[in-house]
């Protein structure tokens, strides 16, 4: 992806090897399609901070600092912020201190986040694991790590990226920026797909945009009879999906192809050299579906750290969805189903677009998520 640096970003980069300056900035730069800003810069003055730190991807960091072979640390603190956490306080006091720091900085979900971070330095992924260590004191390494995590959180880095892994249904996935973090709504999409697949027959599924691999790997984990081919445009996401598949021992039944789905996409010939193009039994996707107007009001956790290409669906949020349906026309069996996660307005505006674009699909079912919003569509070929 093209890298565009603003002047301010260059200044931050200049300080990256030197300790301390008064400004605290979180920077991310990536390019989305031409209609959106190429560089997003988020700057906030933090009164008590004597820190410069910034987040960027490994590749961007190399470009910014002209260093090669950088270790994979997505946030760097060059002098620790004045958190007041040290090895003299017990876990109870440390937790309260972290909570206060986050609350004062108006970080959302401060209480939950402080529990996760403290439990994390104590070695657990569970939110309430700290309760077993309330009177314990942290050692130097733990204090340093906690300070780093708090600093990153003050820079609005999502808790999931700080943890490095997150649970999704019955599996745990590695997560890292800028790959899109699985949302809880998507867990229901897996249930819907499993409910509609015939049991005990082998099925071939096509997924568009696996990201961390949450949908395909959950399906593979919970149904031993299916095989999935996943198409992912981002190399970082494709690599992460493959890594997660390997860690979960599901890589035998998953094929990840790095490609972008556009209006006239053709799939590369399948690996077993069969002459006909493979016809898939179903297609599933959580495509970028956010409307352009909603993209502007995203929280910094999202627009700074996550790849906006995983969110941006165009003016009406349907650009990628329509391309996926064109792909389904070519590669999904005529009686196959298409499962999509969408924006709540799409069940109402999609039929019109399908008619205009002469795409022979109809919406079979509209299903609601746990917040009672129309979130999931099941489509099939019409006539």
């Amino acid at each position: 992806m093209a890298l565009h640096l603003s002047r301010a970003v260059r200044r931050v980069a200049h300080f990256s090897g030197i300790s301390g300056s008064r400004c605290f900035a979180a920077v991310a730069s990536f390019s989305v399609n031409n209609n959106l800003l190429k560089t997003l810069f988020y700057n906030q003055r933090h009164e008590n901070s004597d820190t410069v730190f910034f987040y960027t991807t490994k590749r961007n960091f190399s470009v910014l600092t002209n260093k090669k072979n950088v270790p994979r640390k997505y946030c760097r603190g060059f002098s620790s912020p004045a958190t007041g956490i040290d090895t003299n306080s017990n876990v109870q006091c440390v937790l309260e201190a972290v909570h206060k720091i986050l609350e004062d900085a108006e970080i959302p979900e401060a209480e939950t986040c402080s529990r996760y971070l403290v439990s994390q330095v104590l070695g657990s992924t569970k939110q309430f694991a700290y309760k077993e260590h309330l009177q314990q004191k942290l050692d130097n390494a733990q204090v340093e790590e906690l300070n780093r995590l708090v600093a990153c959180r003050l820079a609005r880095m999502p808790v999931q990226y700080l943890a490095g892994n997150w649970d999704f249904r019955e599996i745990t996935l590695q997560v890292r920026p800028p790959v899109f973090i699985p949302r809880p709504e998507t867990e229901q999409l897996v249930d819907i797909v499993l409910d509609h697949l015939p049991s005990k027959t082998s099925q071939r599924l096509l997924e568009v945009g696996p990201g961390t691999g949450n949908i395909c790997l959950s399906l593979l984990h919970e149904n031993p009879d299916i095989q999935v081919t996943a198409l992912e445009r981002s190399k970082m996401a494709a690599d992460l999906t493959k890594e997660n598949a390997k860690l979960l021992n599901l890589d035998q039944r998953l094929e990840v192809i790095e490609m972008k789905v556009e209006a006239n996409t053709t799939l590369p010939p399948n690996s077993d050299q069969t002459p006909q193009p493979v016809q898939y039994d179903a297609l599933v996707s959580n495509p970028p579906y956010v409307l352009r107007k909603d993209l502007i009001s995203l929280a910094p956790e999202i627009y700074v750290y996550e790849d906006l290409r995983a969110l941006d669906g165009g003016a009406e949020g349907l650009d990628v969805i329509l391309n996926i349906l064109r792909l389904a026309l070519k590669y999904v069996k005529p009686d196959g189903l298409i499962f999509l996660e969408v924006d709540p307005c799409h069940p109402h505006i999609l039929p019109l677009h399908l008619e205009k674009q002469a795409l022979p699909f109809k919406i079979d079912k509209v299903l609601k998520d746990f917040q009672d919003k129309e979130r999931f569509l099941i489509l099939s070929r019409s006539s």
Partner: protein
């Protein structure tokens, strides 16, 4: 020519085993799950912390706590064991059934049955260990008695006397 066995020669220690071995009937206790209550989805009230705005991709919250209440009985559960909302929902239902079972069935609930079974197994194990040490203790006593006799025999200078003398 015959050997005369003098007193004091060691005999096979197994003959000294106590006849106190208790025969334990095999344990065939099974957990009776027939009384476990079944819950209907429509009797349940489920709550999570709701996000703002359109939700879905546009929001990133670490919300995963599920609050589940069984309306007819008033029993409720809060579950935040996992970081996955779906897993918490499933675990919450299991926990709710267990809590209902305990409330309705009391001593007949699966939890109490399991506790009784575990305690019974522990008692059996303790008993088995106790018997084992009892045996060993008795063996040692007999062994030391035999040793004492042997050493006292030597003082009497009794020897092996061949028959043809």
């Amino acid at each position: 020519m015959f050997l005369i066995l003098r007193r004091g020669f060691a005999t096979n220690s197994s003959l000294l085993c106590s006849s106190e071995k208790i025969v334990v009937p095999p344990l065939k206790m099974k957990i009776n799950k027939s009384k476990v209550p079944k819950i209907r989805e429509k009797d349940l009230e489920e709550k999570y912390i709701t996000g703002w705005g359109p939700g879905g991709q546009a929001v990133n919250k670490t919300l995963n706590a599920v609050y589940l209440r069984h309306v007819p009985s008033g029993v409720w559960i809060k579950c935040h064991e996992s970081r996955s909302l779906d897993r918490n929902r499933k675990t919450a239902r299991k926990m709710l059934i267990e809590k209902l079972d305990l409330k309705i069935n009391g001593e007949d609930s699966v939890q109490r049955q399991e506790e009784r079974l575990a305690s019974h197994k522990r008692n059996l194990k303790r008993e088995k260990t106790r018997l084992k040490y009892e045996e060993r203790r008795k063996e040692k006593e007999n062994q030391s008695e035999t040793d004492q006799e042997n050493s006292s025999n030597k003082e009497d200078n009794l020897e092996y006397i061949p028959e043809d003398n």
